[in-house]
């Protein structure tokens, strides 16, 4: 026994010594990852990489905070999100305020890098070219252009990066390029992308030839605008006039007409390539049809699919925040969060059905402001008395009809006495009152009205329009107006109006320009257009210094009428509507010209001594 033990033990000791000699087992692998070499040796993996670059779209514009709340479209309900830092013009380079990941400097550059890697690797001779290699290179170029254009419109001329850095790169510091260089860089990528993507089948969520044309149209329209024409910008803004590097932000000189022509041609290329939904009408559709058309377009269904040139789609299998628009923006009386609520300024800009302007000084209109308005109002806004989804089972006793309640009303109690009923969708509601709208409105444009979708706990599947056909039409109209081609402009503008039941526009000159601008505001509401339009038209000092406002609604029982459970009924109630400005302690809007551009964060300034900060920061 003893001897055996000794032998076994010594054997064991020696065997351990042998096992230690080979350290191959230290070469473990990350089992959940793929090596770079494997990716660029396999077209299927390469495709997965290129599709990954689209993730820079984030949730599109469907985050809890929306760009609309930085404009005269909406106000954000909840404090502490950095929204007022921007609307009150308090941004500084250490605290920019709310910057969405879909436009943030670091995010854009990280996606640009991915595009650069993809372009470089797939252009390499070692890459095993497949049937879709051209397509993938085309998409990568489109994406590089897309993320670059985000930098351009939010920050101005940016350092153009068209090659992947490595850790061994000589320098990491890159100076800003001029606005013109940036435009040319983006346009070149888009032209190449359009060529590479020609004839390729459409995959929803991914770039196409038409998407390249549509983005080019946007970039060239911006390039032609006031804000980016050096002399105009300087004339309209002392801050810009005093900025030493105006070429970062605008064309210092050159022919504007030529830029408008390019913009017009780029837009026309889109209009020639596709049709959108319900365009080409020669007369207005009915009001009801108009509402349905607009809803179809914003839901991208029943024909509205064609409106979307490039979308960020959402499906229930992957519950992403973009599917929670109803929760983020819906009324508190439906247990939703009422984040980005429309302001009265927007509501007032919806025309009457007959194409005239709404006016509070018109007593009939002031007494019934939600009657006979542009169809798009009803498809975009939830207002007092609007019919909406059934409320949660518990709240149906308070409102069996599912109507929006944003006012204060008289009702009668069991004893027959008049008592006050605070609307369920107000900040005095018994339901989650801190989430109530400050304005008296809720946003419904992108919210699926299907009652089976209970917004507080069901995700919806409405895509975000990254690029929309109608934008290109509007771009075309704008360029045409600026080029004096008013007939052509009205022709296209009216097609947009006819499909929602609005009568034709007949104005000329500046009046036409103003009608167009309002049309763009209304048609593209909440689509991340207004933020840029107001800036590039340089009307921000007027438009964005206006205080956010809302509506105060009081419903009193007509003489002799009684009602226990409140419902909207003009037969029973007299309604009084009064516009109220936002309390300055809630949000005190202000415009300073520094807000034309976002500041480059001071940490990035510190990292890169080649950078020059934007004016005013």
């Amino acid at each position: 026994m003893k001897r055996l033990n000794k032998i076994v033990a010594l054997l064991l000791a020696t065997s351990f010594a042998f096992t230690a000699c080979n350290d191959d087992f230290l070469n473990t692998r990350p089992l959940g990852q793929v090596s770079e070499n494997a990716v660029w040796a396999d077209p299927a993996l390469a495709e997965a990489f290129v599709v990954g670059i689209y993730q820079g779209f984030g949730n599109g514009g469907f985050d809890e905070q929306m760009l609309a709340s930085l404009t005269d479209e909406a106000i954000f309900t909840h404090p502490g999100r950095g929204i007022t830092t921007i609307t009150e013009a308090r941004s500084n380079s250490a605290d920019i305020g709310w910057v969405n990941g879909t436009l943030a400097w670091n995010q854009m550059y990280s996606r640009i890098r991915a595009a650069n890697v993809a372009i470089a690797k797939m252009s390499d001779t070692n890459f095993p070219k497949g049937a879709n290699t051209d397509r993938l290179i085309g998409e990568a170029k489109f994406l590089r252009a897309y993320y670059s254009h985000q930098l351009l419109r939010y920050y101005g001329g940016f350092p153009i990066i068209d090659k992947p850095y490595t850790l061994d790169s000589e320098t990491f510091k890159a100076p800003r390029n001029t606005f013109e260089e940036c435009v040319n860089f983006i346009v070149k990528d888009l032209d190449e992308a359009a060529t590479l993507l020609t004839g390729k089948s459409r995959i929803n969520g991914r770039a196409t030839q038409i998407a390249s044309l549509a983005l080019k149209s946007r970039v060239l329209l911006y390039a032609a605008s006031d804000l980016h024409d050096g002399p105009t910008a300087k004339a309209k803004s002392a801050d810009l006039a005093g900025y030493a590097k105006i070429e970062y932000l605008a064309y210092p000189s050159g022919s504007r007409a030529e830029r408008w022509q390019k913009a017009q041609a780029a837009a026309k290329a889109v209009l020639d390539a596709t049709t959108g939904n319900k365009m080409g009408l020669s007369a207005p559709v009915s009001h009801a049809e108009g509402i349905q058309n607009y809803i179809n377009n914003s839901m991208a269904r029943s024909g509205g699919e064609a409106e979307i040139i490039l979308g960020r789609y959402f499906i229930n299998l992957k519950n992403e925040n973009g599917g929670r628009q109803g929760l983020f923006n819906g009324p508190n009386g439906y247990n939703n969060w009422a984040g980005n609520t429309p302001v009265q300024l927007l509501i007032d800009d919806y025309e009457m059905m007959d194409g005239t302007k709404f006016s509070w000084s018109n007593p009939d209109q002031a007494a019934a402001p939600y009657k006979n308005r542009d169809a798009r109002f009803y498809a975009s806004v939830l207002y007092d008395g609007a019919q909406w989804k059934p409320r949660s089972s518990a709240n149906q006793v308070r409102d069996p009809l599912g109507q929006i309640q944003t006012g204060t009303y008289e009702v009668t109690n069991a004893a027959g006495a008049k008592v006050t009923h605070f609307g369920l969708d107000t900040r005095n509601s018994p339901i989650e009152d801190w989430n109530g709208s400050y304005t008296g409105y809720y946003f419904r444009k992108f919210v699926d009205a299907n009652p089976a979708i209970v917004d507080q706990n069901t995700w919806q599947q409405v895509p975000w329009p990254v690029l929309r056909y109608t934008e290109a039409v509007l771009n075309y109209v704008e360029a045409s107006i600026e080029l004096g081609q008013e007939e052509e402009a009205r022709k296209w503008l009216n097609q947009i109006r006819f499909r929602v039941g609005q009568p034709a526009v007949t104005e000329t000159g500046d009046a036409l320009r103003q009608r167009y601008r309002n049309e763009r505001r209304i048609e593209m509401a909440y689509e991340e257009q207004r933020y840029h339009d107001v800036r590039r038209w340089m009307i921000a000092p007027q438009a964005f210094s206006r205080q956010a406002n809302g509506i105060s609604i009081r419903g009193t029982l007509k003489p002799g009428k009684t009602l226990g459970v409140y419902k909207y009924d003009p037969e029973i109630f007299d309604y009084v509507y009064k516009v109220i400005d936002m309390d300055p302690g809630k949000e005190n809007r202000k415009w300073l010209d520094k807000m034309y551009y976002l500041p480059i964060h001071r940490d990035e300034m510190n990292r890169n001594s080649e950078l020059v900060q934007n004016p005013g920061f």
């Binding site: 026994m1 000794k6 990350p30 990852q33 993730q55 007022t84 500084n92 518990a394 507080q456 990292r607």
Partner: protein
């Protein structure tokens, strides 16, 4: 030889040994007797008795009795016991001995576990702190890591949460040393980084814990940079089987429940907020109007109603109408006063000369704080340690641990639950007067309901099966040479099951019940629309194989030489799998198969890790007077690429027992009879690259990770670059120096120890994201760029004495550590006062609070320009210091703070006393030098305020120049990002107290037991702190976390 073959062979061999154990027995004469203490003449249990020159031995039982077989009358017995002078007794013809041991107040004979061995405290040259398992077992804490704070100098333990199952302390040895991961390496029974860690070890199984604080950890090189905690479990001993049964019943409650505003106070503040929304000019009038009429007519004619009218405030105050004007204390409604906890342990220890065993079975049950709690923790554990002397050459040791940890929770986490209690509006009902649960604050989250199983359940079951075995072979023919083979195979399995169901709350409907008084309530279904089930399974296998050769030699009784060398090979592999289903047709079946096919989902993954280590030690001492030791380790880690994979980590330690010198003995030695100076220097490694709280492996590889995107209405897999690789990445190196001395006076009545240290961490693995512009788009890898120094001291002083039967001891220990960033990637350009280089790690950049604008006049006369941060200064706004003196408050005026949230000083005071059969042990523990951010970020119309804020706030009636106006959440420029909101967390607490009584042995014997002890003890009994609102150990700025526990408990130990 294949790796797995070695494992199999090893296991097989161990098994064979065990079968053979019974074979070795001997015949001889029995001697028995009793051992008494010379101090008090009481029997001494646990005295070890050895037949000189053999390995035969035993220990005395609780009554000091022993029985031992001796080979012949010529045998000599050696009696030894810690704290007593050893005694040699020739047996002669006696068969019954009565031995009295003289106390040796020098406790330096104590043996301390160090890396790969043990050393006498007297000859230790490193800085090593230790604590006996018995001390730790005095704490009623259910998590062993919570019993450590204040026990060992330089060991900082901070407890951040009391949630059953997640109530561990984070342990830092001598503070923080690196920008990355600062966790100490935990070695359990010789196996590094053992799964499960220290938290869930049964305190009754612990023999001792040693902490290697300096270069003495170098023998664990690669992962030792943050210090090493060595846990040694109890082993068997020779003697009659000793069976101990312990039961402990305790009760826990939160240490601190924040004081919040009540309904009337809250309503008052909402009225305030409504006024603050108006232009400042209207404030005074509005305030007056709200307090009297309740409505205010604005200059523009608009009538504004106060959110709460004066009579409503009164109704909240007097509580006369609980249906309409409730006044809810959400904590009281949700938490019970005391939550029970139970710990049971049965232990059997015994053995003979050849085989010794220790088996222990434990059970724990811990309830959550909530009423009808769905939260709890249960544990079953079994440990068996076997030692066998097979023959004079071979010894075998085996350790087996089996443990099941079962955590269960409701489907809403503690964060959400306590968020709702902090936010909970005091003017909403938790329960209606008729007992039905009230409405939610939002998302159905009424805390009185979501703490129960009404929401389903979330279970987390972890099973550990750990084995370790050693074979120690004395090499025949070479005296002192030993080869020890070690193997450990640890398997961990985890199963998570989450079953989410809708639940019901009640809100007021319209009208009344038949009684005409009780409002009708409407049931409302909240939570998920339909049940959902998520299950996840994972398992991990850790394998360690190692061999150590050691050689011990004493030459001429003067030169003691010890040489040791060995290697370890470690692998960890794991895989996991998860699945999800919804659309269950009912809540009746909570099994995966019963779910619908729509939107079902699953996933899984795997990982592998490996390490290879060579290590050794050479120590020499001359007459235990001059001491020298050299330690080294050569480590290879999978974390680094082949070229830079290996690192060499040396340590040198020297000691001089000055008191052994003639000059000392003849002079100061009369009083100070022991004095040792020691010093150490070493380099240790750290390969734990942590960003964002997660280990970042494979920084040297160009790899892409998976994600997904929606294209053509399907979720397609995408690939994203993980990083640009750093192919030169290598070890982070700790350069740790220590200088210490220790000594004792009056035969050990007073003892002391003092250490100063200087740690410099170089090659710290961090991203260069401060200097590489983001325009590169690079996702940066870790690079060896950082340098941090950490210096400080730790000490302990003690006194022990007795007055007759009353014996007592007092000890004080403490540690101070302050770190400073010497270099990291900080971009140039920031003003000097904002730079983090030269400051401690993890400090904030904030504006400096400078009081409050009490009035409009003060604002009008204010010379500073606040335009960069606000365009509208109003009374009650905070003033900031214009640090650079340019007349403007802008981001340049932010300063880098000095403190972070880890205390710089932590210490403890222990008191132990015994009188006759009573004993008392007390631990006070305290910490200083940390700050905690206290936020009002969820106060306002979204939720309640701290009472502290209510009482101190600026108001129109009571303008304060110290405290600001309240804000709606953090909607004011001063609501965050300034020094006002950082509060000191300095505290002292009565951490642990135990009072015990041992039944006199003559009574116990009658009851048929050897010993019976009853005791009461407590944890976190009292706290004196500066924070004032939450437990001072919190890391939560909003108090939205499961608070730390105060525990009282009582127990009984019976030994048969």
């Amino acid at each position: 030889m294949k790796f797995s073959t070695a494992v199999r062979l090893f296991a097989l061999t161990l098994f064979t040994y065990l079968l053979c154990l019974g074979a070795v027995m001997a015949q001889s004469r029995q001697v028995s007797g009793v051992v008494l203490s010379g101090e008090d003449n009481f029997p001494l249990p646990g005295v070890s008795i050895l037949v000189k020159g053999t390995t035969t031995g035993t220990v005395t039982d609780v009554d000091g009795n022993f029985r031992i077989s001796v080979p012949s009358d010529a045998a000599v017995l050696v009696f030894s016991f810690i704290g007593f002078v050893s005694q040699e007794v020739p047996v002669g013809s006696q068969s019954n001995l009565s031995i009295t041991l003289k106390p040796d107040t020098k406790s330096l004979q104590e043996v301390i576990v160090v890396g790969y061995g043990e050393q006498k405290k007297e000859t230790i040259t490193g800085s090593v702190a230790s604590v006996k398992g018995g001390e730790l077992a005095k704490s009623p804490a259910m998590n062993l890591s919570n019993s450590i704070a204040g026990r060992m100098p330089g060991v900082v333990a901070v407890n951040r949460s009391g949630e059953p199952g997640y109530d561990g302390s984070s342990i830092r040895i001598r503070g923080s040393n690196t920008l990355g991961n600062n966790d100490a390496l935990i070695v359990i029974d010789g196996i590094p980084a053992r799964a499960g860690g220290i938290d869930r070890l049964n305190p009754n199984d612990i023999e001792s814990i040693s902490v290697l604080k300096d270069a003495s950890a170098a023998i664990y090189g690669s992962r030792a940079a943050n210090g090493v905690i060595l846990v040694t479990t109890k082993r068997g001993k020779s003697g009659k089987p000793e069976f101990t049964f312990q039961v402990n019943q305790g009760a826990a409650q939160p240490t601190v429940i924040p004081d919040l505003a009540d309904a009337a106070q809250y309503a008052e503040m909402l009225n305030d907020l409504d006024i603050y929304a108006l232009p400042v000019g209207e404030w005074a009038a509005a305030n007056q109007a709200y307090k009297t009429a309740g409505t205010f007519t604005r200059p523009n004619g608009v009538v504004r109603k106060a959110p709460y009218l004066p009579n409503e405030l009164e109704l909240y105050r007097n509580g006369s109408d609980p249906w309409n004007y409730p006044n809810t204390d959400w904590y009281k409604s949700t938490l019970k006063t005391w939550s029970p906890q139970t710990r049971v342990n049965a232990q059997l220890v015994g053995g003979n000369d050849n085989v010794k065993y220790m088996t222990s079975i434990g059970y724990q049950d811990q309830d959550g704080y909530y009423k009808q709690s769905a939260t709890g923790f249960k544990q079953y554990d079994i440990r068996m340690n076997l030692d066998a002397t097979v023959n004079k050459y071979v010894k075998v040791g085996l350790g087996i641990l089996g443990r099941e940890e079962s955590r269960f929770f409701p489907t809403r986490g503690a964060g959400a639950i306590f968020r709702m209690q902090m936010r909970g509006k005091p003017n909403q009902p938790a329960f209606w007067p008729n007992g039905l649960p009230g409405p939610d604050i939002e998302n159905g989250e009424n805390p009185v309901v979501i703490t129960t199983n009404a929401t389903g359940y979330d279970r987390d079951t972890r099973d550990y099966f750990q084995t370790n075995g050693t074979i120690e072979i004395k090499v025949p023919g070479i005296e002192g040479l030993k080869i020890t083979g070690t193997g450990a195979i640890d398997k961990t399995m985890q199963f998570n099951k989450r079953w989410e169901t809708p639940w019901v709350l009640y809100q007021k409907g319209s009208g009344f019940e038949a009684d005409g008084v009780t409002p009708k309530l409407v049931a409302t279904v909240r939570g998920p629309a339909d049940p959902r089930l998520t299950e996840a399974n994972s398992n991990t296998l850790n394998i360690l194989l190692g061999t150590v050769a050691s050689y011990d030699k004493v030459i001429d009784n003067k030169h003691t030489i010890n040489v040791l060398a060995g290697f370890n090979k470690e692998t960890v592999s794991g895989n996991n799998f998860n699945a999800f289903r919804r659309y269950f047709i009912s809540t009746a079946i909570d099994q995966m198969f019963a779910g619908g096919d729509l939107e079902k989902n699953n996933g899984g993954g795997a990982f592998e890790r490996a390490r290879l280590n060579y290590f050794g030690r050479a120590s020499y001492n001359y007459k235990e007077k001059y001491l020298a030791e050299f330690l080294w380790r050569y480590d290879g880690s999978y974390i680094f690429p082949e070229a830079t994979r290996y690192g060499f980590f040396p340590g040198v330690m020297l000691g001089w027992v000055v008191s052994d010198e003639g000059f000392w003995k003849n002079s100061i030695g009369k009083t100070m009879d022991f004095f040792k100076i020691r010093g150490s220097w070493g380099q240790l490694g750290n390969d734990q690259i942590f960003f964002g709280g997660a280990l970042q492996e494979y920084q040297f590889l160009s790899t892409y990770g998976f994600s997904s995107y929606i294209a053509n209405n399907t979720e397609v897999k995408t690939l994203l670059e993980n990083r640009v690789p750093n192919t030169r990445i290598t070890w982070e190196v700790a350069n740790n120096s220590n200088l210490g001395f220790e000594g004792q006076f009056m035969d050990g009545k007073i003892f002391f120890e003092f250490d100063v240290f200087y740690n410099k961490r170089t090659n710290i693995l961090w991203q260069k994201n401060a200097s590489v512009p983001q325009s590169t788009g690079l996702i940066l890898p870790a690079e060896n760029i950082g340098e941090v120094e950490n210096k400080g001291y730790d000490f302990s002083v003690g006194y022990r004495g007795n007055v007759g039967d009353f014996t007592y001891s007092v000890g004080v220990n403490g540690g101070y550590a302050k770190n400073k960033i010497l270099f990291w990637d900080e971009a140039p350009g920031a003003p000097e006062w904002q730079r983090s280089t030269g400051k401690p790690m993890n400090t904030f950049l904030v504006y400096q609070y400078d009081g409050v604008f009490a009035t409009q006049e003060e604002i009008n006369s204010n010379p500073l320009d606040y335009k960069s941060i606000t365009n509208n200064l109003r009374p009650g706004d905070m003033k900031y210091k214009d640090v650079n003196g340019d007349g403007k408050i802008n981001p340049d005026d932010r300063i880098r703070m000095d403190d972070n949230d880890i205390p710089r000083f932590q210490g403890g005071v222990t008191l132990n006393a015994s009188f006759k059969n009573f004993d008392l042990s007390v631990l006070f523990q305290g910490a200083a030098g940390a700050r905690q951010y206290v936020s009002a970020g969820e106060s306002g119309n979204i939720g309640n305020f701290l009472l502290d804020i209510y009482e101190n706030r600026w108001t129109i009636d009571n303008p304060s120049s110290v405290h600001p106006r309240i804000a709606n959440r953090n909607d004011q420029y001063f609501s965050s990002g300034n020094t006002y909101w950082f509060r000191s967390t300095d505290y002292v607490r009565l951490k642990n107290l135990e009072l015990g009584y041992n039944l006199p042995s003559f009574i116990a014997e009658k009851a048929g037991v050897r010993n019976l002890r009853v005791y009461v003890n407590g944890l976190n009994l009292f706290t004196w702190d500066k924070l004032g609102v939450y437990d001072p150990e919190t890391a939560s700025s909003t108090g939205q976390y499961y608070p730390q526990a105060r525990i009282i408990s009582t127990g009984l130990n019976v030994t048969f």
